[in-house]
């Protein structure tokens, strides 16, 4: 089967050159499986590493002889897209379930016994959904910056791998990453930035 010669563009939902979504579906499923395997091992997933998941998925798919990919980097790029879909899908499902309920109020007695440290589940879901939407908008304005974010954050790729995947210089990749994060940050937290 034909394979795309470049990483998927964040702004297209279907693959423009008619490639069947099978490789993508494979990657998606495998990533999900790997993630659940890791989660089962350490119940709270606090050390779940995107990079580790992607690498493991790659190895497993490669060992099964399912080669729909030119190379490692190409796989990673697709995995980044798949990971993004997985996480955002889960976030939206959770968000939809919760829609209609206001911010939780803490009952008087349990004020001392507050739950999580960093973010609770609702906040994570909200953040991911907001991030995804912002990323879509960023892709309309500068598709390469958006791709860098997808590869680095959702794919766990290093700066070098990102540069290679996009066919750009390392310095450019770093710069894009910095700029994209700035733009996303001010989009998601406008009050912080004024």
């Amino acid at each position: 089967m034909a394979t795309p010669s470049r990483p998927p563009d964040p702004s297209d939902n279907a693959f423009a050159d008619g490639v069947p979504p099978e490789p993508f579906a494979l990657v998606y499923d495998e990533l999900l499986r790997v993630a659940h395997r890791h989660l089962a091992r350490e119940a709270e997933g606090h050390s779940l590493s995107t990079t580790a998941l992607v690498h493991e998925a790659y190895l497993r798919l490669r060992d099964r002889g399912t080669s729909g990919f030119n190379d490692r980097i190409h796989f990673f790029a697709m995995a980044a897209r798949a990971m993004r879909r997985i996480l955002v899908d889960h976030a939206r499902r959770h968000h939809a379930a919760k829609r209609g309920s206001n911010a939780r109020r803490v009952p008087l007695e349990s004020i001392e016994r507050l739950g999580d440290g960093a973010l609770d589940v609702e906040e994570r879901a909200e953040l991911l959904v907001a991030l995804d939407e912002a990323l879509v908008r960023l892709a309309e304005l500068d598709s390469r910056q958006a791709q860098v974010v997808e590869l680095r954050f959702f794919g766990g790729l290093t700066e070098e791998e990102t540069a290679e995947a996009l066919g750009i210089g390392l310095r450019t990749a770093k710069r894009d990453w910095a700029k994209a994060r700035s733009w996303l940050y001010q989009t998601l937290y406008p009050d912080m930035v004024g």
Partner: protein, 886 residues
């Protein structure tokens, strides 16, 4: 894709990119040059640069770890208190959790940097703060600098801070291996004096150092007193409470336990360094006795005691305690800040003197004056100024002690009169009270209607008490969610007392907490907690009202028929949700939903009068807004109002609904009069009755009476929207454009979205011949009601000379009226403005047949003056029972 936006982004990105090539201190100047006078571009780039400065850690983490709890199908973290410990926050690797409290969680972390290892305590501020914590985070970042500069042997150094991926603030400080004072007290109970005093002294020096830099801690408590490995004190969390907004409310604060709050913090007064001295006093008390001086079963009870109760003297719980130590602690726990030691330095000196077992007199002198001191020269005092104040203060204190008041000088020189007794009765009108929206503490948004309903009920119950002035619902709910202190609320609403409380509903059980607070001196006159069953909710409400009336020394006399047991909790629930939807009232969907909820309530309890009343209101609203056919909806409104009244003849809202229908649908003016009056008599605080009656009177040209009703409404419901607009309407009808303009302008200041008010303003301007202003107002009204060209605008254009446009608009509207509903009343206005009398009358007659909106006001509408001579007009007006105007 918006090419505009893309271009704007491209330009900003280019400058941003170039700026990043420069050294940080060159960027600002470069941006100025590069953007020259393009302010938008400059703002965009500056925003990006600011974001760049803050987004170091942003997204610099594992997406999978972030989303892990979403992927897992097991119990979500936090619901049972089990936390997901992140692996990294910013540049720090998290080792383990070392504590948690009201504000967040503390981790032991290590900086993940090969060139610079550092072990820190990392505290993350919890999420779930109402506004998402963004305001707090912004303040936190601004203050970090100052806090980081506090260097003292007994202050835990603040190193660093940042924002987690989720946008929560965190900060890092030196890790103190000796644990906290809270831990020690938990394990050991009270500490021996020999151990407590050195800790206290170190703590006091830390406070002194901070106060000298102008920093007030605001959250001194054993949990924040940490120990180094060598046992020396490190005070931590400086000023964090302030950064987090100190959102102390009477019904439950964000900051955890209330036990260490000073009275001034509890009541929302200004807070200075002396609040820290208070908290220090509480801590010292606890160290010595193993107990807290102010404790209680709930947050609010503790606050109450802090503000008004005297703690048990230390000598009672610590036998053999040095009298001067006892006295020092008691002085630190003076309710009035000026009676406490003036500074941390004084406390240190006092502690030293106590430790030495020194001269009792010198300790007393150094620790500040006490009311019992008579005028006495203080020998050897190095500070003459302070001595002088001691003497003066002492004398006044002595005199005042006799009078039963305490007078003090505030730090800024102004003086204030305060009393520990209930406020002396002023020669004034009836005591006034505002029932603030009770807080829903059950954690479920579904209970919000119930809680609001309870507030409503209480307002209603109190409103029927003779001799008590109660602020109506809408003004009170306008303040919902604001964090104003009692005094600010009192000023805004013009009341002396507020009632606050919280409600927690769980299945069939109910817990209600309520308290009555005097605005004038911020004291709690009464508070109580009720644990009851849901079916007793009205009994509880009456108990509360009765108790409150007693506290306000007002005669509380309610007839027995008020005491309704809730026959069917399900029905009650549906009814309250219906009311909630009705009050939201943002569109036809809400009204329909409200109607359905009321019907469902009726299904479960067919003798539920309130539900019929609610249903009647829902239909009346639909009629007013023109949803559905007015004839039908008003008929249903009347039908349900009558059913409600048959079941409970005292229901003012049902009677008002009936009266309103009689007015706008039946044109039965005298009957409407009677019903309105009766409703108002039944429930003088029911604002809507007066509003509807006022307009009705206006329609019948009884302008002064109408205005009187609206004025009364305004007094009892100062924040209610809509009253001003109605006043304007009546004044326009009365042909008093100047007053109308004043009233409407004011109303529009409060609520610029009120399209009806804009319309009336336009009418007023037309009367005054201010054509341009009139057109502008009509345009604004049209815009707000969602159309570009309205019939009312056409009318205005016609009478100001632009007939061509007016005709076009009317033509278009009439054409569209074949496919959708177009209010006939306003079309008639437009035709009248164009001088087409017969066509105008055609439309008016149609409006009458339909009982369309506004038809009842036909006689006081300026637009139809040219029609008054026409016989058809005479017939129409006669049919409506109105008097033909000359």
């Amino acid at each position: 894709m918006d090419a505009f936006r893309a271009e704007r982004f491209r330009r900003a990105d280019a400058v941003f990119d170039a700026a990043l090539d420069l050294a940080p201190d060159e960027r600002a100047a470069f941006v100025e040059r590069a953007c020259s006078d393009d302010m938008e571009l400059r703002a965009d780039v500056q925003r990006l640069l600011r974001a760049y400065g803050q987004s170091d850690d942003f997204l610099d983490t594992s997406a999978a770890a972030l989303a892990a709890p979403l992927l897992a199908n097991g119990p979500t973290p936090g619901s049972d208190g089990v936390a997901t410990i992140p692996d990294r926050i910013g540049p720090y690797r998290i080792e383990r959790e070392i504590g948690r409290g009201g504000m967040g969680v503390v981790y032991l972390a290590e900086r993940d940097d090969p060139t610079f290892r550092q072990r820190v305590a990392l505290k993350v501020v919890r999420g779930g703060i109402p506004d998402g914590g963004r305001r707090h985070v912004a303040r936190f970042l601004a203050e970090r600098q100052l806090l980081a500069s506090l260097e003292h042997a007994h202050i835990a150094r603040l190193f660093d801070g940042g924002v987690t991926i989720g946008g929560l603030p965190y900060y890092t400080m030196a890790y103190c291996e000796g644990g906290s004072l809270a831990d020690r007290l938990r394990v050991n109970g009270a500490l021996p004096v020999g151990e407590a005093l050195p800790i206290a002294r170190q703590l006091a020096t830390a406070l002194g150092a901070a106060h000298a830099r102008g920093v007030v801690h605001r959250d001194v408590k054993p949990g924040n007193v940490l120990f180094d490995v060598d046992g020396s004190v490190r005070l931590t969390d400086f000023g964090i409470a302030k950064l987090l907004g100190d959102d102390v409310t009477h019904t439950g604060g964000v900051l955890g336990t209330a036990a260490y709050l000073s009275p001034e913090q509890a009541t929302g007064e200004t807070v200075d360094h002396r609040a820290d001295l208070w908290a220090f006093g509480v801590t010292l008390y606890e160290m010595l006795s193993g107990r807290r001086p102010f404790d209680g079963s709930s947050y609010a009870v503790v606050l109450h005691r802090i503000v008004s109760a005297t703690p048990e003297p230390l000598r009672a719980c610590v036998p053999g305690i040095a009298p001067d130590l006892d006295a020092l602690v008691m002085r630190l726990l003076q309710k009035s800040p000026s009676l406490r030691p003036e500074s941390a330095e004084e406390v240190v000196r006092a502690l030293d003197a106590i430790a030495v077992g020194g001269d009792a007199r010198s300790a007393r002198r150094d620790a500040g004056h006490a009311p019992r001191n008579t005028v006495k020269a203080a020998h050897g005092s190095p500070d003459r100024r302070r001595t002088a104040r001691v003497i003066v203060g002492g004398a006044i204190a002595l005199l005042s002690a006799v009078a039963g008041y305490v007078v003090w000088q505030r730090a800024d020189g102004s003086s204030a009169l305060s009393t520990n007794a209930p406020a002396p009765l002023r020669a004034m009108a009836a005591p006034s009270v505002a029932v603030l929206p009770f807080a829903n503490t059950s954690g479920a948004a579904a209970d919000e209607p119930f809680t609001d309903g309870l507030t409503d009920e209480l307002i209603g119950t109190l409103g029927r008490v003779r001799g008590l002035r109660v602020i109506a619902r809408s003004s009170v709910f306008a303040l919902k969610g604001s964090h104003l202190a009692a005094r600010a609320i009192g000023d805004t609403l013009g009341v002396d007392h507020v009632v606050e409380g919280s409600v927690r509903r769980s299945g069939d059980s109910l817990r209600v907490f309520a308290q009555l607070v005097s605005v004038r001196n911020d004291s709690v006159l009464w508070s109580e907690r009720y644990d009851r069953q849901l079916k007793d909710v009205f009994a509880v409400q009456e108990e509360i009202a009765r108790a409150m009336a007693g506290a306000l020394r007002v005669q509380f006399a309610l007839g027995d028929e008020r005491l309704q047991a809730v026959g069917n909790p399900e029905a009650l629930d549906l009814y309250l949700r219906g009311r909630f939807a009705l009050n939201t009232r943002t569109g036809s969907a809400d009204l329909l939903r409200a109607a359905r909820l009321f019907e469902a309530a009726i299904e479960r309890d067919s003798s539920y009068a309130r539900a019929y009343s609610g249903l009647s209101d829902a239909y009346a609203s639909m009629g007013n807004f023109g949803y559905g056919r007015p004839r039908e909806t008003f008929a249903k409104a009347r039908e349900n109002a009558l059913r409600a009244l048959r079941l409970d003849s005292t229901l003012a809202e049902a009677r008002t609904s009936l009266a309103h229908t009689l007015c706008v649908h039946d044109f039965a003016w005298d009957a409407a009069d009677r019903e309105f009056r009766r409703a108002i008599e039944e429930d003088p605080g029911y604002t809507f009755a007066r509003m509807a009656y006022g307009v009705c009177l206006g329609a019948r040209s009884r302008f002064d009476e109408g205005l009187a009703q609206l004025d009364t409404a305004r007094r009892s419901d100062p924040l209610r929207m809509g009253i001003g607009a109605l006043r304007g309407r009546v004044l326009v009808g009365a042909g008093r454009p100047d007053e109308a303009i004043a009233a409407l302008t004011h109303a529009l200041d409060l609520n610029p979205q009120a399209d009806l008010a804009w319309e009336q303003l336009g009418e007023a301007y037309l009367m005054k011949g201010q054509d341009a202003d009139a057109i502008a107002a009509f345009r604004k009204a049209a815009e707000l009601s969602g159309v570009r060209d309205s019939a009312q605008l056409a009318y205005a254009l016609a009478v100001t000379g632009d007939r061509g446009t007016a005709e076009r608009i009317v033509r278009d509207l009439v054409t569209s009226s074949r496919t959708r509903y177009v209010p006939p009343f306003h079309i008639a206005m437009a035709y009248a403005g164009l001088g087409q009398v017969d066509t105008a009358l055609d439309w008016l007659e149609q409006a009458y047949e339909e009982r369309a909106s506004f038809i009842s006001g036909i006689n006081v509408t300026e637009a139809f003056k040219p029609l008054h001579g026409n016989p058809r007009w005479g017939q129409l007006v006669a049919k409506m029972g109105l008097e033909r105007r000359r």
